[in-house]
């Protein structure tokens, strides 16, 4: 089998490593994951529809998708800015800044959750400046956006950075010397090649935000209909031993994630790059 699948090579171990990969992948990921759809099929269409369109569930979709979208937009803007600053400018402490960008990947979500809650509550370090302005962050939908911005932050930076690094300086200089303004140069010359990377980063951050649980449940206050995210509803159903209900809602989230994954793959195919961002 090994010889038919792979081109002839002097390097040994294809059969062994490939076989092991496929067995492990199937046992840990593919078979367990397919159970979501298997279990969902135990419900009739009507039962399924009633679970996934319950008003409380619908409210949670609105919050989860809305907050994820806003957070990803914030990350797209500031991620592009920070990638630009890191690639094009030199300043003291640049290496440190570059390192700190990955903090949300390394810091456990529960820790991020309680830290953000303490910082943004009414008497927290940042919250106490916002409270007099009438802006409440913790225990409101705004808090959900803050948490989702935090956990999705590195994606856009890390997808744009390598593309910006490879981009030829001469392109901008040519546009500049031909009389284009700074803004025109950015919009017409720099932006188009960055777009696939930007969209990939956006989609990755969005996908991550959709499923986020750990950081959100602390800062959101978890009020039904108002600040309850969809992953929390899955957990709530599970705690009530409503496995079928939990699985039905999970299938909706999972399908949304798969659509995003498909879009990300198409974008990577278009740009000829593959990103891996932990």
């Amino acid at each position: 089998m090994a010889k038919r699948l792979a081109k002839k090579s002097i390097i040994p171990g294809f059969g062994l490593t490939m076989g092991y990969t496929l067995v492990y992948l199937s046992l840990i990921v593919l078979i367990p994951l397919s159970l979501i759809f298997y279990k969902t099929a135990s419900l009739s269409w009507k039962e399924y529809w009633d679970v996934v369109t319950d008003p409380r569930v619908i409210a949670s979709y609105r919050l989860t998708f809305g907050a994820s979208f806003v957070a990803s937009v914030i990350n797209a803007v500031f991620g592009t800015l920070i990638a630009w600053v890191l690639v094009r400018y030199d300043f003291i402490g640049k290496r440190l800044v570059d390192g700190i960008v990955d903090l949300p990947f390394a810091l456990p979500t529960a820790v991020a959750g309680i830290a953000l809650t303490s910082v943004y509550s009414d008497n927290g370090w940042i919250g106490k400046f916002l409270a007099p302005l009438g802006i409440k962050v913790a225990f409101t939908p705004l808090g959900v956006i803050v948490a989702l911005t935090f956990i999705g932050f590195p994606f856009v930076v890390r997808t744009i950075q390598p593309v910006l690094q490879d981009l030829d300086h001469q392109l901008e200089e040519a546009a500049f010397s031909l009389g284009a303004s700074r803004l025109q140069t950015f919009v017409r010359v720099l932006f188009p090649p960055l777009l696939p990377a930007l969209l990939t980063g956006f989609a990755l951050a969005f996908a991550r935000a959709l499923g986020e649980y750990g950081s959100v449940i602390f800062i959101s206050g978890n009020m039904p209909m108002v600040t309850e995210v969809t992953p929390l509803l899955i957990v709530t159903k599970l705690e009530q031993y409503d496995y079928a209900g939990a699985t039905a809602i999970a299938s909706v989230v999972l399908i949304a994630s798969f659509i995003l994954l498909f879009i990300i793959n198409c974008l990577q195919w278009v740009s000829g790059r593959r990103y891996f961002i932990g």
Binding site: L5, T17, T21, I28, L81, T149, G211, G214
Partner: protein
């Protein structure tokens, strides 16, 4: 015509300033808040919180779960990166996409799938009960959920490093008569060691910090199936904030160490690659 202010310098300053302010408010302030809250009542209370019996049992369990999951995913990572980078075969992109799947899955769903498989109402539930094997609400379930969540980390750090190194060095070693294992240990491993180290460290940080998936399968049995992040949640919900942040600070330190090793490994890998290019 001379300009009063250089716009390039001004734009540059403003952009750097805006970037740093954003990073400070969103990343640095919360990180400092963890340590500040943990030490609010002094170092003695901090030490007391970390040395509490439930905290220590959570630390022990976290170390156990992480050790098993990281080892399993490291073996898988090396084998899979070898297959993907040293050979050409059909469906390689599909394989990489499937390996990335756990990233796209909500941690809560990652826990749920193992409940559906091994839980009391699960597919294998009755059989497991008949044989008196406990997986859900016990350590094996927590290991499985952690393995699933941290599945892609080692392999995805190794693939770019191994692609950049190419396979020429291995081919030379093999044609000079070295065995497969010998080639891997003597030629490949020294080239990928820094990438591998970072993959393992990142996988470890995620394994120790995983919350959603582990929370679903653990059952939150105090002193029995509590990991550090779950213990943080319990303390926090009991309004024992100082203790919650004290225990959380252990994970925050781990995160900082992870970031330092990342920077180090990127720098070392770059140097290895440059050295290899110079030799040619």
């Amino acid at each position: 015509m001379p300009k009063p202010v250089q716009p390039a310098a001004l734009v540059r300053f403003l952009l750097i300033f805006a970037a740093l302010i954003f990073l400070f408010l969103f990343l640095i302030v919360p990180l400092f808040a963890v340590f500040s809250e943990a030490l609010k009542k002094g170092i003695l209370v901090y030490i007391e919180s970390v040395e509490d019996a439930d905290a220590l049992s959570a630390i022990r369990l976290t170390l156990l779960v992480a050790a098993i999951s990281v080892s399993l995913n490291t073996i898988f990572g090396i084998a899979t990166a070898w297959a993907i980078t040293k050979f050409e075969f059909r469906g390689k992109n599909l394989l990489i996409t499937l390996i990335d799947l756990p990233f796209a899955v909500s941690p809560v769903i990652s826990g749920l799938i193992f409940v559906l498989l091994f839980g009391a109402q699960g597919i294998l539930g009755p059989w497991l009960e008949a044989h008196d094997i406990k997986i859900i609400f016990a350590v094996p379930g927590m290991v499985l959920a952690t393995v699933f969540v941290t599945f892609p980390f080692v392999v995805r750090e190794l693939i770019p490093v191994m692609l950049a190194q190419g396979k020429q060095e291995e081919e030379t070693a093999l044609s000079l008569g070295a065995g497969g294992l010998q080639t891997f240990l003597r030629v490949t491993l020294p080239n990928i060691k820094w990438g591998l180290l970072y993959g393992v460290i990142l996988c470890n940080a995620r394994a120790m910090g995983e919350f959603g998936a582990v929370s679903v399968v653990s059952g939150h049995i105090r002193g029995m199936t509590n990991t550090i992040p779950l213990h943080v949640e319990i303390l926090y919900n009991e309004y024992n904030f100082v203790a919650a942040f004290a225990v959380a600070s252990i994970l925050a330190v781990l995160a900082i160490i992870t970031l330092i090793i990342k920077s180090l490994s990127e720098w070392k890998t770059k140097r290895l690659l440059e050295a290899a290019e110079e030799e040619q």
